[in-house]
């Protein structure tokens, strides 16, 4: 299945997506596709935090800042892609990225993942609710990302928005791990 997990910054979307991937896998064949490029101290800290978050959960990490469709992954795995916002930014703004073809490039990549894997969990960010008008470059990026979101969510079996750690389900069966823990 294809699951799309969306949320704001620091909403707990990664933790939720990791739990979902672990739940789907039963602990085997977990691949973590890491999209963030290490640019500065702050991104390094972010990467570190995420590494610690998924430590001991059985993920094999594969770096994938660009060109998702060119990856050679083992078949029938459970793949967690994190995070689409970075992948799309890299494709848009990096020299050897997809540029104008970003939407097609990324959707092709995810299609490859879906065809090749048992389950695919895509983590992405909601960047659309601050009401600010950005530079043309940034607006273009937002448009690309929103188009990809709409396409993916149309195909997805499961779509949830994580609101301050609580999943709000838009589509599919409810997988509610964090809330169970919270009320225990």
């Amino acid at each position: 299945m294809l699951a799309v997990i969306i949320g704001g910054a620091a909403s707990g979307k990664s933790e939720y997506a990791e739990r979902l991937a672990c739940h789907l896998s039963g602990g085997e064949g977990l691949i973590y596709l890491a999209t963030m490029l290490s640019r500065d101290e702050e991104s390094n800290q972010r990467i570190c935090r995420h590494r610690q978050l998924r430590m001991g959960k059985g993920f094999q990490t594969v770096e994938c800042p660009l060109h998702l469709s060119q990856l050679q992954l083992p078949k029938k795995q459970i793949v967690l892609l994190e995070c689409l916002t970075n992948l799309v930014a890299n494709e848009r703004f990096e020299q050897n990225g997809g540029g104008k073809d970003t939407v097609r490039e990324v959707l092709c990549g995810i299609k490859y993942l879906c065809n090749n894997s048992k389950h695919v969990v895509v983590v992405t960010g909601n960047l659309f609710d601050d009401g600010i008008t950005y530079s043309q470059e940034t607006q273009q990026y937002c448009q690309d990302l929103s188009q990809i979101h709409q396409q993916l969510c149309r195909q997805a079996d499961y779509v949830a928005e994580v609101v301050y750690s609580i999943p709000v389900v838009y589509k599919g069966k409810h997988y509610n791990f964090l809330q169970e823990e919270g009320s225990r």
Partner: protein
């Protein structure tokens, strides 16, 4: 403890007031209240948590720790926080820090809350609890 979240201008405070039957002057406002949890008077409804966090960060105080103290001392309180994380990554480091700390702290509060409501256009959806 109950947590009410939602975007800007969605009617979070009105919803809290109608739920608690309190009036506006009984509400603690994060924009102008003391920065430390133990300096607050009785907390029944706490509005604009995110602004309290922002002011705390500017003074080097940890929002996460103060929020923990707040709910320890006032376990029956209704807390209101605006969702501020759904935009493009801010250019300024302190804005990014504010988003991050508000997010992590509100995740903790949502986990501790007996009930979480999300208000949208004045309508509340209960996303946790009864």
């Amino acid at each position: 403890m109950r947590l009410i979240v939602g975007g800007y201008g969605q009617g979070k405070l009105n919803y809290a007031l109608s739920e608690t039957k309190l009036s506006q002057h009984e509400v603690i406002n994060g924009r102008d209240c003391p920065l430390k949890a133990d300096q607050l008077g009785q907390v029944r409804v706490f509005y604009a948590l995110e602004q309290w966090f922002r002011r705390q960060l500017a003074e080097g105080i940890s929002p996460f720790e103060e929020a923990k103290k707040l709910i320890e001392k006032w376990p029956q309180a209704v807390l209101i926080a605006q969702e501020i994380g759904s935009g493009v990554v801010p250019l300024h480091a302190e804005e990014r820090r504010w988003r991050e700390e508000t997010g992590r702290t509100c995740c903790m509060l949502a986990q501790q809350a007996a009930r979480v409501d999300r208000v949208f256009c004045g309508l509340a959806a209960t996303i946790k609890g009864e």
